[in-house]
Amino acid sequence: MAEYISGVITFSLIYVIATVGLAVFTGFTGLFSLGHAAFFAVGAYTASILTYFYDVNYYLALVAGMAMAAVVGTIIGYPTLRAKLRSDYFAIATLGFGEAVRVLLENLEITQGARGLPGIANETTLTVVVIATILVIWVARNFVYSRYGRAAIAVREDFVAAEMMGINLFQVRMRSLLFSAMTAGLAGGLFAHYVSFIQPGMFTAYLSTQLTASVVAGGMGSITGPVVAAVLFVAIPEALRVASMWRLVAYGFLLVAIMVFRPQGLFGYKEISLHSFRRLFRKEVS
């Protein structure tokens, strides 16, 4: 039982890592990526190929996965962000990119095609994931509160005005895309070494939409909101195993309901912190 609970926590936290990255990109630049499963897959494959075929150290392999995801992120991000695509075009381009990566993984020699890689070393432990999650959230928080993050918020609110104030649109978007690609790559590497089997079919557009769903449901422009949403989205269906068929039905329904009834997401632009609890408490006292 304890093992099962730690498994659910590990899974949730791996999703949290990827979601935080996407929250920094979508939530703070206003662009909508539908291809983040590709970065997840690239991280997973790079890390596991390195440990599987070349006996590279696990941590080194994770870093390599992140680096590879960043390289792939540059390949898709550089042309599309440079051309300043409209948000729809960008979403469709990333959707296509995600599918293209999956088709490539299915047909490459080293990834063993659709059969996938079985028996990857089972290295990811709860401790590693907890530390990684804390690090990622900490870096994301620092990023958001830095001048780069404030520039990103300006771009999200009104990119024309932001550009006129001298903010380099391309640079801001590229930087947050690279950050989110790297976190997705890290999550992929952790995931591969936790379940010890990966195949291209795991990284479909569904994964991308699940990540985006968490960000939207948690509130665009918040870090903690998506974290809570990601945990809820992974942990609750995991606990209610019966509902697994209906999980994605609920996702879809939630997305529409949130857009119609509460477009700012569950937490809006707010962050959850000790401070907000204190404020809640104070209100009750007075």
Partner: protein, 290 residues
């Protein structure tokens, strides 16, 4: 070989064009990518299959039923998922997320209730072949090409000549001004979704007959998005040309290079095209609304 490939490409392109037109129709008026469109196509195929196999109605009635069912679903989708956003003047990002939610919901609802089984239409049309001058073409393909063009031409005629069609064109040009001039926007948008849904029903039937009926078949609309982008989002003639072009190019790639690189090719084509011609072949220049 060359002409054979061309004809096959045109048959696939015809279905792509049909889907791209329905997709472009919605884009031209609301300016967002309707990701739910693929699921409507999928449901249209299921309705057609159910009518044909379970109720035993003739093929033509089944196609009619699929058209009517998909059109109503599309209208329902607009009323439930988009109309509140429209009234609030929400940014197109919200529309897109709502559409994505609808798509996930419908697809998985079918998974959870009907199941992931693949259903095949009876091989009535697929078996027969026409051949002339060394080129053989399936009856279904002929039917698809002819029917696609009739449907697209009918839509064109409707848009050019009917009062509703004129209202739709006015609204797609400027929604606010047309509203000031007495166009009932809610009803006009309802019409747009009904028409797009009708096209979804037809293409769902043809896709189901050509391949199979299964919950994720709506993903083929990714190709329709690409076709619409090639032609220029929101432009109906562009969608037709883009669909045919994509169908023919894809068939040539899979015939002469390999069928594996086909999808990678389409998506690379999309990215390259977006960089070179961001507004597509027939698109008007569209700035993100400030």
């Amino acid at each position: 070989m060359f002409i054979q490939t061309l004809v096959t490409g045109l048959a696939i392109g015809g279905i792509y064009a049909l889907m791209a037109v329905g997709y472009s129709l919605v884009f031209s008026i609301l300016n967002f990518s309707n990701f739910a469109y693929g699921s409507i196509i999928m449901l249209g195929a299921y309705i057609g299959y159910y009518l044909l196999m379970e109720m035993g109605v003739p093929v033509y009635l089944a196609i009619g039923g699929s058209i009517a069912g998909a059109a109503l679903l599309c209208l329902l989708n607009e009323r439930l998922a988009y109309s509140t956003l429209r009234k609030r003047n929400a940014p197109s990002l919200y529309f897109m997320i709502s559409a994505m939610g609808t798509s996930i919901f419908l697809e998985n609802f079918v998974y959870a209730t009907i199941g992931s089984r693949f259903y095949a239409f009876p091989e009535v049309l697929t078996q027969q072949n026409f051949s002339f001058g060394g080129v053989s073409i399936g009856m279904l393909d002929v039917f698809a090409i002819v029917f696609s063009f009739i449907a697209i031409y009918g839509l064109h005629y409707f848009l050019q000549n009917s009062r509703t069609g004129i209202a739709i064109r006015a609204a797609s040009y400027d929604m606010q001004v047309s509203q000031l001039n007495g166009v009932n926007i809610a009803r006009t948008i309802g019409w747009v979704f009904l028409l797009a849904g009708a096209l979804a029903g037809i293409s769902g039937m043809f896709l189901g007959m050509k391949y199979m009926v299964y919950p994720t078949m709506g993903w083929i609309t990714n190709k329709a998005y690409i076709a619409a982008v090639i032609g220029g989002l929101g432009s109906l003639p562009g969608a037709v040309v883009g669909g045919l072009l994509l169908g023919v190019l894809e068939t040539f790639v899979s015939a002469y290079v390999s069928s594996v690189v086909r999808d990678v090719f389409s998506f690379s084509l999309l990215v390259v095209l977006l960089l070179v011609l961001p507004t597509g072949l027939f698109g008007k220049f569209l700035e993100e609304k400030v």
